[in-house]
């Protein structure tokens, strides 16, 4: 990976030892490099939380916004200058709780931006509270007896809202992740990649998932490739999370809108 994609003088980063965010960021930088994008035309936009500190370590134009608001800021940037490649780095809480409304509307509008969710299943920055992606029964500091709520399925949420490219991957599968990030970035229209990272400090510790290395390696057990999952029974897939490409369709353009008008 090109070291000039990072602002080395800003390191070390703020992330805990064993955090998965660094691997996810590296995968994104790999994707940008492999695509040969002009670094002057890439803008990284983030919200608030551990994930959202990532853009400031990069040497691209970067905008650290408000909690949940990265997507509307990115929308404004992209519409103001459509030549830019605008990538949002966000977390599970940032994108699906406080920013959930913005997420579904950007997907509905099919704004040509890419949203990369560093999904660690909890709010790390504030000490390990439950997010809308925290699995049921999980222990967090705000669900001390286990999470009573059901989580969103972020892939289905984005797809249902109209996203034209949706994928999920995990940082154990770095090539898989880089490949899907590349497809998301080059996709014309709204794209989202649910990127599973470990939080050993809070989620892992509270839920006895082992240390950072164990959490990372365990992804190969509970993340199942979509192509493999298609051959499995629901019983065999219990407790598993499927990774791969879920939506990859043409964008909703004025053409699609006019068709709907004619039908009406």
């Amino acid at each position: 990976m090109r070291s000039d994609f990072l602002r080395l003088e800003r390191l070390p980063d703020i992330w805990c030892p064993g955090c998965g965010n660094g691997v996810a960021l590296r995968a994104l930088l790999e994707a940008i490099e492999q695509l040969g994008l002009d670094p002057d035309k890439v803008v990284l936009v983030s919200g608030i939380g551990c994930s959202s500190r990532a853009p400031a370590y990069t040497a691209f134009d970067n905008v650290h916004t408000l909690h949940g608001r990265a997507i509307p800021v990115a929308t404004g940037i992209k519409l103001a200058n459509p030549k830019l490649t605008v990538i949002v780095i966000t977390g599970d809480g940032d994108s699906s709780a406080i920013g959930g409304n913005h997420l579904i509307h950007a997907a509905r509008r099919d704004v040509d931006i890419t949203v990369v969710v560093f999904n660690n299943y909890n709010y790390g920055m504030t000490g390990g509270q439950a997010s809308p992606l925290t699995p049921s029964s999980s222990i967090t500091t705000t669900t001390p007896s286990g999470n009573l709520d059901r989580p969103f399925d972020l892939v289905n949420l984005a797809a249902g809202a109209g996203a034209t490219y949706v994928a999920r991957s995990g940082i154990y599968f770095t090539k898989h992740l880089v490949d899907h990030l590349k497809k998301a970035i080059t996709h014309e229209g709204f794209s989202l990649v649910d990127t599973i990272v470990q939080c050993p400090t809070y989620y892992g510790r509270f839920n006895k998932r082992g240390d950072a290395a164990q959490m990372l390696v365990s992804q190969k057990d509970w993340l199942v490739l979509k192509s493999v999952a298609e051959k499995k029974t629901p019983e065999q897939l219990a407790g598993k999370v499927i990774i791969g490409e879920f939506v990859n369709i043409g964008r909703h353009g004025p053409a699609a809108a006019s068709t709907m008008k004619e039908q009406a």
Partner: protein, 375 residues
């Protein structure tokens, strides 16, 4: 009347003034009594090569214009009290990242949903103190359709010049008035200062103006923004000295230029013994009340705040002249009057005249008030 004279509604004048000033990006959410601005911009932006987008709420609207501003556009959004409350989060962020943005707030009766079609001046303090933390905002207040046009241009100019959010504080009545206006430009159009040198570029390094240049996103400067306290490099820090320097600079970049920013309009203040101090639509009634009092031999005068914030106590004291009595009519329970009591202490008699039923204060009511209160 020049050839450029046209009949316009207040909201339309804001939209056209903004376009004349170079606004090419509008994001908004419908709300009475500002919706016409979104409707006009939906039609006008494509005509002038600009972009209109209706967002999902006011939080998204204000953050979208911040993004577009960072990418190099002159930007506007418009709203009213309930939406303005939602925009406070973005307004604070715009202060911190020094994004040139203009927000029109057309005041309606509140709190909460209140009376959407009724006028008020109840958002005055929200413009200044609505978002958290120490911050400084420029607030301009039009009293007519003509002035809505002029101040829309001035708001965009000041935002770009000082890298600061500007609030155009209108109200339901001025927004919906229709008056003939002259659309000639009242002042030259100002564009943001761009950085010259990529080598050693520091996003928040300033010269004597204390206003950093803006490297528009995508222009190769690899700039950096955060709502966290940041030094000249733009990178976050928890260093108290850097924080103090930043907050003081954000104040000083405006307060070193009060001659340029502050506009107060006075009428007969030189020899008045009774002076009305007001802003926005209320000042229209004051004009007639002062004329009537003068015609009866009473030494009345007025001071109208065209710039409400930054607020400079010394300038207000100076502009007030010798008047012993200062009447402060406003369509709220007393907001401007709080500032004036601070400015004048016990040196003048400060008399609030408040109306909170959703109607305007008529000149006749002002005259009755003066008579009944023995002012």
């Amino acid at each position: 009347m020049s050839e450029a004279t046209v009949l316009m509604q207040g909201n339309e004048a804001v939209a056209e003034g903004a376009i004349a000033a170079g606004v090419r990006f509008y994001a908004g959410y419908p709300i009475t009594p500002s919706s016409e601005i979104a409707e006009i911009m939906a039609r006008r932006m494509p005509q002038v090569g600009g972009t209109f987008i209706q967002m999902e709420d006011e939080i998204a609207s204000v953050t979208a214009i911040i993004g577009a501003s960072m990418a190099g556009k002159k930007v506007l959004t418009a709203t009213s009290g309930p939406g303005f409350s939602l925009m406070q989060e973005g307004l604070g962020y715009a202060c911190m990242v020094e994004a040139p943005i203009v927000i029109l707030d057309s005041m309606r009766y509140g709190p909460s949903t209140g009376m959407p079609t009724k006028v008020s001046q109840m958002d005055l303090m929200q413009t200044r103190w609505g978002t958290h933390g120490d911050h400084w905002i420029i607030v301009l207040s039009p009293s007519s359709v003509q002035e809505s046009y002029h101040l829309a241009i001035r708001a965009v100019n000041l935002a770009e010049k000082y890298r600061n959010p500007v609030i155009l504080l209108s109200d339901e009545t001025v927004s919906h008035l229709r008056e003939p206006i002259d659309t000639a430009l009242p002042e030259p159009i100002i564009d943001r200062r761009l950085p010259a040198q990529k080598t050693g570029y520091q996003p928040f390094k300033t010269d004597a103006t204390l206003v950093p240049t803006i490297a528009n996103l995508g222009t190769g400067f690899r700039t950096t923004y955060t709502g966290l306290v940041h030094g000249e490099s733009g990178f976050q820090t928890a260093n108290g000295h850097v924080a103090e320097t930043l907050v003081q600079r954000m104040r000083d970049k405006l307060f070193n230029n009060l001659d340029d920013i502050i506009r107060l309009e006075t009428d007969h203040s030189d020899d008045a013994d009774i002076l009305f101090m007001s802003f926005g639509i209320t000042a229209r009634g004051v004009t007639e009340a002062v004329e009537t009092l003068r015609s009866r031999g009473r030494k009345a005068g007025s001071l109208r705040f065209i710039t409400l914030f930054p607020f400079d106590d010394d300038r207000v004291r100076q502009a007030a002249g010798p008047a012993k009595t200062i009447v402060v009519p406003e369509l709220n329970s007393g907001q401007l009057v709080l500032l004036l009591k601070r400015v004048f202490g016990d040196t003048r008699r400060i008399v609030p005249l408040n109306k909170v039923n959703g109607d305007l204060i008529s000149p006749a009511e002002m005259l009755t008030f003066v008579r009944e209160e023995n002012l």
